[in-house]
């Protein structure tokens, strides 16, 4: 632990998460060396494949982080993602991606209005919006798997490679750069931190906190819809329940990356590492052919124990 002494408190969870990620990869490699005598986890192609899988979760977590930094949460992620994917494939053609993104825009504005002006706890408001979106989409598709297909551009973005790297990684990277810039280099980003840290103080500093909240929810929904568009491209079509597996891992990635669940603290780098941690954890468990039961248990134990470690570190400081 002594190597982390120079790490600032804010970066400590990030360092721990990064170290843990390395441990996971080492365990996985040790396992494959012992059982097969090879180390596939350390090959380039394997890592790229993991990045490609991780990009969907990465987009979801990026958006979720904006909302969690405010001390709120966005439970409408699953069906925002699905609705965006379905709308994109339904509209098709050149307007496919704008159609998907505009779903995100509308959902984000509605969520933001409900949370900021009506002051309904985001937990329940976004849950209701999720349910409404699900209803709309089921009505739209008639309850069957949609027959429409992803456009070539969507497929290209999700599944093809640019200069040897998966295109989806470029999308994830671009969104990450934008969000990093927003959070560190714009007044809006700084206002998100301020509003999450102490809403009353931000309000009295002349920050338009309503707009900050709406903006963060829009960012979250846009990211979710981008993930939906990519995922539809990856699978060639949209399908029911494509968003559900992303909600809890997205929240977990953000929190394991050191963002405080009550808002105000967290770095985007942490969320990136949180995503990588979860992706590698999943893939090592896959390599070990770990049954789903143990995956869930390990997943839960990792979250609780890492948060206990973070908490202990904080207490030791004071």
């Amino acid at each position: 632990m002594s190597t982390f002494i120079s790490v600032t408190p804010e970066n400590r969870p990030i360092a721990i998460a990064a170290a843990f990620t390395v441990v996971i990869v080492l365990i996985g490699t040790g396992y494959t060396l012992a059982t097969q005598g090879t180390a596939p986890m350390l090959t380039m192609s394997y890592l790229l494949q993991q990045l490609q899988i991780g990009s969907f979760l990465g987009l979801c977590a990026a958006g979720m982080m904006m909302v969690i930094l405010l001390g709120h949460i966005d439970l409408s992620l699953p069906w925002t993602l699905t609705a965006a994917a379905m709308m994109a494939t339904t509209v098709g053609g050149a307007w496919a991606i704008p159609a998907g993104l505009s779903v995100g825009l509308v959902v984000g504005v509605v969520n933001g209005l409900g949370v900021s002006y009506l002051r309904i706890p985001s937990m329940i408001f976004t849950l209701g919006v999720d349910s409404v979106l699900r209803g709309l989409m089921i009505a739209h598709t008639g309850g069957f798997a949609p027959q429409t297909e992803a456009t070539p551009l969507m497929r290209f973005l999700a599944a093809d490679k640019i200069a040897g790297l998966p295109a989806a990684v470029f999308v994830w990277g671009a969104v990450s750069v934008v969000i990093t810039i927003i959070l560190t280099r714009t007044g809006f980003g700084k206002s998100i931190y301020a509003t999450g840290a102490k809403e009353s103080a931000a309000f009295l500093s002349g920050i338009r906190t309503h707009w900050v909240i709406i903006g963060a929810f829009v960012a979250s929904s846009l990211c979710a819809s981008m993930a939906g568009i990519l995922l539809a491209g990856y699978s060639a079509k949209a399908y029911q329940g494509m968003g559900a597996p992303f909600l809890l891992p997205a929240i977990a990635a953000v929190v394991l990356g050191g963002t405080h669940i009550l808002g105000g603290r967290g770095r985007f780098l942490g969320t990136l590492i949180g995503v990588v941690l979860i992706v590698f954890l999943n893939s090592v468990l896959s390599i070990m052919q770990m049954p789903e039961a143990f995956r869930q248990i390990i997943y839960g134990v990792v979250i609780v124990s890492m948060l206990l470690v973070y908490g202990r570190e904080n207490k030791a400081r004071h």
Partner: protein, 347 residues
Amino acid sequence: MMIRFKSWVGRNRGFTGALLLFTVLFIGYHILHPRGFSTSVFIQNANESVVIGFLAMAQTVPVLMGGLDLSVGAVMTLTNTIASHVVTGSPLQMVGGMIVTLSAGTAFGLMNGLIVVFGRIQPIIATLATGAIASGLALLVRPSPGGDISSDLNWALTNAVFDFAETYGFADNGNAAWLQPIANVPVPLVILFVLGVCVWVPFKRTVTGRTVYAVGSAESAAYMSGLPVARAKIAAFTLAGFFASCAGLYLAIQTSSGNADINQAGAYTLNSIAAVVLGGTSLLGGVGGAIGSLVGAGILRVISFYFRILSIDPLLQSLIEGLVLLAAVSIGAIRTFRVKNKLELFR
């Protein structure tokens, strides 16, 4: 008396509104039902409401304390799979199995409480993680759906009181005169009612129960008044675990089997939050109660019954449920516009 009633209504607007909505929906349902009101329909309705009813009660306690328990659905699933193994054999063994099931869920809730209080982790994220653990354990206990719970028990507990008596051969096989007034009451309702009255009502009247409310309303004032804050937090999660295990046990008996369905667990958790809010409990804590959440759960169920009898496209169900939820919380939010000092909104 009238005045006291009026003031009670005034203080329990959320609950009263929920009760009215439920009554209107329920009566409307039976009027519109092609066969009108009948015991069999009523029994079927009751059966379909028990699990969400228990989960709504489970969720209520942490919410009253100003927290949230995202593991209730998973704990239900876990206890459901446990029950499918242990609730078998002779009646005595079955009772023992039920006790094992309920203890397991209660212990899991206790663990949640200890993590939240001593680990100082936010309830929402702690229970998110322990929920995954419970799901995993459920998959271990029962990797594929199955179980062999006695069909007698299933029959007895999912029908009217008369059938219960007949199955176990008491009260003249259900024909005794004293039993007649309640002979047609569905057993699932009796179970919900008895547990609600025997567990929740007494709990609310202990100092610990009152402290749960006090913590949700004003934690620092509760501390200043010398109330047992840590004990109340642990008790809240423990009780949530207990009610969740009641849901799991009933689900096992109702389906005669156990099924570690993780998606179902997640959906039930989210529905339990919706039921709590619809039943007039504030997500900020301090206001509401488990009985209200039962009514909230009832509203959610009755809405879904409508789809069956009206020729509404069942595909719209989720849409309408969502709209009802949003409308209910938005009506509750009107008070926000009456606040004169904007700083008060942030507290």
